[in-house]
Symmetry: C2
Subunit: 387 residues, 2 copies
């Protein structure tokens, strides 16, 4: 292998074109584009004229061409697992776009196959894991600085999408073509970060609004209550109809609290002792002082504000670079591909809970989910069933 | 009647003493203290020495004494309806403390009795309704400025209470003595404001943590998802174990949004048109501009920051003054007593949902709730059953 990884871009839509630009602009020094594949033959001219690169209508031909060491899957979500498996089967490293797939059953197949190819690099484009703010927050939580997690609360409604966005193409915001709405398209980043930082819940209860404020079949608003199984719970809210959206993530631990605003600024509170010790150590006199405003509880904690500048594109190009570095020299992956299943599982559980009107475990029956999804695909009548 | 209402304070604990001080300090110009009642005979000396006032161990004697025109009920929550009814039955105006009671059945009895005495003033101490910020927010919502409400989200965890607070007296934080935890003691203000401003939900699903971070039988943490029945939903989170608590209330409407921080500052966003019109009116070119950062959505709304200074005690003394004014000249009540049932009903529904592990309607079976409550009182074994 040369010192640069030759990437095949499968799907030259908005996302694929963006990655191509990052690479040709030199933002990913250890990567070059090897070839491009797209089902639309009209993209051949673009590949030729803009990049002077080999072009394939069928991505399998790209995989067999010998022009690439790795691929990235910039195609509708349902196809990510299939393309990932076909790439790895041909000893081509695979970077799948988020979400890893639409239903866990297909993602589990991808993960199982990838496990048989440990010598290959299998990553997922969770670019938010490359946000230095979230990296720092994960460090703080993992180090135990704020203690055991007791509550999480994320409102992420900065995903405003007008109707015209949904009307761009036939597959978008359909059950058969896209497999869901905000949960599978916009919020996978937060569904991943939440679990990456705070752990995987045991169960979820959700209210999901389908075609609530948009003329679509799938969900444009979600309210989910997660249960981590150890007393800790959390709330996750997302929507695509809030023009001036909120992005506020709160993590309460036994010994501190983190409040992230706009994925840009975090206020980290560290208690001088575990909260329960502070509570138990307070005598009746101090309780009286507390209620008469004579106890200064600000002495019981310190606060730090963390803020990072972030350049547009740095997150995505950083994931590309990290993926290439893992191929070239074994640099640990920021986002191993096998982690992709967590976000898909939580999204599936949220859908399933809303369909059943009850709390569901995260190890729900995958066949039941797929049957419910296929019921909606059948009723829609535009695309074939899955699975 | 004189130009001042003579108030009987029933219960000279922390709250009753505070009201006495407000009145003797002249913060309530249209009110004076007529008499004091407390089950603790030791309080007689306090009443005599500090206030030079008639004292009664039995509140019924106070009601019959002719020394008061009105009473306020500063006693454990279970007693509010009974005292309210006994006062009104003797043609004494009644201001009940929040919550109006512990279970809706007893509050409904109070409301039904009060309805037979329309000539008397029946109020409830919802002092937060006298917060100028919430008054202004209610005006904005009622006037339709932000359109129909689509989402609400209140995290109110500024109710930090150390263990010593719960250990102060035998009845506190018990099923039989207090009837609940944060829902019946601390959060009734927000349970009221939420419904006063945003309307009464149709159903609720809740996760409630009992004795989670405190050594108590009742709840110290609540996560509730409310459903307004018209597509709108909301989240309500409260807890007593967050030392550096959050108070953040978000209301999303069709044509705007209000975010209240710390019950002190509100950011009011007003869209230039209803959100759905803005969404539908955006052509494919504008959608492309949006995704390439060339569309300035800030032109689609205006923002206003609202902030009020609030003096300590002004809220409570204002409610006392308004209650007296209603008696004296018919000034409309800020908080009619009959409104108290809404907060109790929502608290009961939250408890019931957590006990049943499922969503419950707000018009739940009141007998079922009372049976569940009595089951917990029996198991506790300290106090008698209710109802």
């Amino acid at each position: 292998m040369t010192s640069k990884v030759r990437l095949g871009i499968i799907g030259l839509g908005a996302q694929g074109s963006m990655y191509a630009k990052f690479i040709t602009d030199g933002l990913v020094p250890n990567m070059e584009i090897g070839a491009i594949a797209d089902r639309d033959p009209a993209k051949a001219a673009v590949a030729e004229a803009e990049y002077g690169l080999p072009f394939f209508e069928n991505y399998l031909d790209l995989l067999d061409s010998g022009t690439v060491d790795a691929v990235v899957t910039c195609v509708p979500h349902y196809l990510h697992p299939e393309i990932g498996i076909n790439a790895l089967a041909r000893d081509v490293h695979a970077l799948v776009e988020k979400p890893a797939g639409v239903y866990t059953k297909q993602v589990a197949e991808l993960n199982a196959f990838a496990a048989t190819k440990p010598e290959l690099t299998f990553g997922i484009m969770f670019n938010q894991r490359n946000n230095p703010l979230y990296i720092r927050i994960k460090e703080i939580v993992d180090s135990g600085e704020i203690g055991k997690i007791r509550r999480t609360n994320w409102i992420i409604t900065t995903w405003w999408r007008p109707q015209g966005y949904y009307d761009q193409s036939e597959w978008r915001a359909t059950w058969g073509g896209e497999g869901g709405g905000v949960l599978v398209n916009q919020a996978p980043h937060q569904l991943d970060l939440l679990q990456w930082i705070c752990g995987v819940p045991k169960s979820v209860y959700a209210k999901v609004a389908y075609g609530f404020r948009r003329n679509i079949a799938v969900e444009d608003e979600v309210t989910a209550v997660v249960d981590y199984g150890d007393g800790a719970t959390g709330v996750f809210v997302t929507a695509t109809h809030d023009l001036v959206g909120t992005d506020r993530f709160e993590i309460l631990g036994d010994q501190g609290k983190i409040v992230v605003e706009g994925s840009k600024t975090a206020t980290v509170t560290r208690l001088v002792k575990p909260e329960r010790e502070l509570s138990d150590g307070m005598g009746i006199d101090e309780v009286r002082q507390l209620f008469t405003g004579r106890l200064n509880i600000a002495e019981l904690y310190t606060q730090e504000i963390i803020e990072f500048d972030s350049a547009w594109g740095a997150q995505h190009s950083g994931v590309l670079q990290n993926f290439a570095a893992n191929i070239l020299d074994g640099t640990p992956l920021l986002a191993p591909g096998s982690d992709g299943i967590n976000g898909v599982r939580l999204a599936n559980a949220i859908h399933l809970s809303s369909w059943k009107g009850q709390e569901v475990p995260l190890d729900f029956d995958e066949d039941e989910f797929l049957a419910e999804l296929n019921k909606r695909i059948r009723e829609e009548g535009t695309f074939g069933e899955r699975g």
